[in-house]
């Protein structure tokens, strides 16, 4: 082979890109066949070191070994073909499986770096007598290995971020129900943290619900809201005003002592806000506004009896 007959010192890096690429490909081929030959032994060594380093503690040893096998094969294949799509897909698939089990980013990065190290050591062992060759093999191996580590780590993080985004979306959807408790009466229980985006979404949903349910009174219950800043408080005031423009009265219930203090201290103008202590009181007030009167069944029968008796 042309590449192997030339001493490496005589060929500065990048001086002859074509020749260099050829030699790199040849070296990688040699490397891959070495890794294929020693597959069982290297794979075991890697799995052993993963356990030893206490990575992937959420998984059993058999699982680690099974994953190690497929990662190893994908790794070698990526080295051989120089294409990373298959590895990328595999990394995403792997992440999808192991993220729900609580595997952390450092563990994934850790195992890939371990594999890189295990393979590098096997190369040291194989070529320790021919230092020049070792150097050239490593020159071919290192960039590819780095790129593989990069691909896997990025794949994992992207998958994680995707899951986080999905969950945020789900929480957002779940956390803003607008419920009708009576004809013309809606309640909007708000639980958890309100950020500006969620506040905007809440308002939009509420206004739309007022329109579709033809609501006249809305009870917004914020018992489950731990803290409120001036932005959110002002947004709440805007929501109350906007609801009024649609012809609905808003009653706010369940302001905690802390929120009451904050709101007064930051000087939010709440004079136009109709507040009642708790949700029960709020619904009672709303029923009064709507002209409902709730009576116990016994009392109702009595009242009917009295009125018929009077006739």
């Amino acid at each position: 082979m042309k590449a192997t007959t030339r001493p490496p010192e005589a060929q500065p890096l990048g001086a002859d890109p074509r020749g260099d690429a050829e030699s790199t490909a040849a070296l990688l081929r040699e490397l891959v066949s070495h890794l294929r030959q020693n597959r069982t032994q290297l794979r075991e060594e890697w799995a052993r070191r993963i356990t030893h380093a206490q990575l992937l503690t959420a998984m059993t040893e058999e699982e680690i070994f099974a994953e190690a096998t497929s990662v190893y094969d994908n790794y070698v294949e990526a080295l051989e073909t120089g294409t990373f799509e298959a590895l990328q897909a595999y990394a995403r698939n792997l992440s999808e499986r192991i993220i729900p089990r609580g595997v952390e980013t450092h563990e994934v990065v850790g195992i890939v770096l371990l594999l890189r190290d295990v393979l590098a050591r096997s190369l040291f062992a194989k070529y320790h007598e021919d230092f020049t060759k070792l150097n050239r093999i490593l020159d071919a191996y290192e960039p590819a290995a780095n790129r593989i580590a990069n691909t896997v780590a990025v794949g994992f993080v992207q998958e994680r971020e995707r899951i986080i985004r999905e969950q945020q979306e789900a929480i957002r959807e779940l956390s803003t129900p607008v419920l009708q408790v009576r004809e013309r009466l809606l309640i909007l229980p708000i639980i958890g943290l309100i950020d500006p985006q969620r506040a905007r979404q809440l308002t939009e949903q509420l206004l739309r619900a007022i329109r579709t349910n033809r609501a006249r009174v809305v009870v917004i219950d914020i018992t489950g809201v731990a803290a409120m800043d001036s932005n959110v408080a002002n947004h709440l005031v805007l929501t109350v005003e906007a609801s009024r423009l649609l012809g609905a009265t808003v009653i706010v219930t369940g302001l905690s002592p802390e929120i009451a203090q904050t709101l007064v201290q930051i000087g939010v103008d709440l004079t136009k806000m109709n507040t009642v202590g708790d949700l029960q009181g709020g619904i009672e007030e709303a029923e009064r506004l709507l002209g409902y009167k709730v009576v116990l069944l016994g009392e109702a029968a009595q009242q009917v009896g009295e009125s018929t008796g009077q006739k």
Binding site: E204, L207, I210, A242, L245, G247, A248
Partner: protein
């Protein structure tokens, strides 16, 4: 475009069907304030269902109409403000303070029936 004013028993109704110029709005104001006395109306309904934009001049004119009509002895209710318009209005600080609002024409009529009854029973 001139807004037609319809007489519905004891009430007057003006339904705004398209975006109005400032002059149209002032014309509507003058016509309503005039006719509410002429027909001895007890209530006025301004329907803005078809409006998808409300600027500060429109909001102020609506507010003026309501207050002027109050001085002429009748109540005003603005009906049919769209959710998006409502949000945009409050964000711009156009609160229509002291002006009654209702979801739609039906609710507006119910509101006027209630408020005129209250006034009569309160006055008696």
């Amino acid at each position: 475009m001139e807004v037609p004013i319809l007489k519905l028993g004891a009430y007057l109704m003006a339904s705004i069907q398209s975006a109005l110029t400032d002059a149209d709005l002032l014309h509507l104001r003058d016509a309503l304030v005039d006719q509410v006395g002429r027909f001895r109306s007890r209530g006025v309904i301004v329907d803005v269902t078809a409006l998808d934009v409300m600027d500060s001049f429109a909001a102020r004119t609506l507010s003026d109409i309501a207050h002027m009509i109050r001085l002429r002895g009748a109540d005003t209710v603005i009906v049919g403000i769209q959710p998006d318009v409502a949000m945009a209005m409050v964000q711009l600080g156009l609160r229509l303070e002291g002006v009654a609002t209702a979801l739609d024409l039906e609710e507006g009529l119910a509101f006027l029936a209630r408020s005129t009854r209250e006034r009569i029973s309160g006055g008696a």
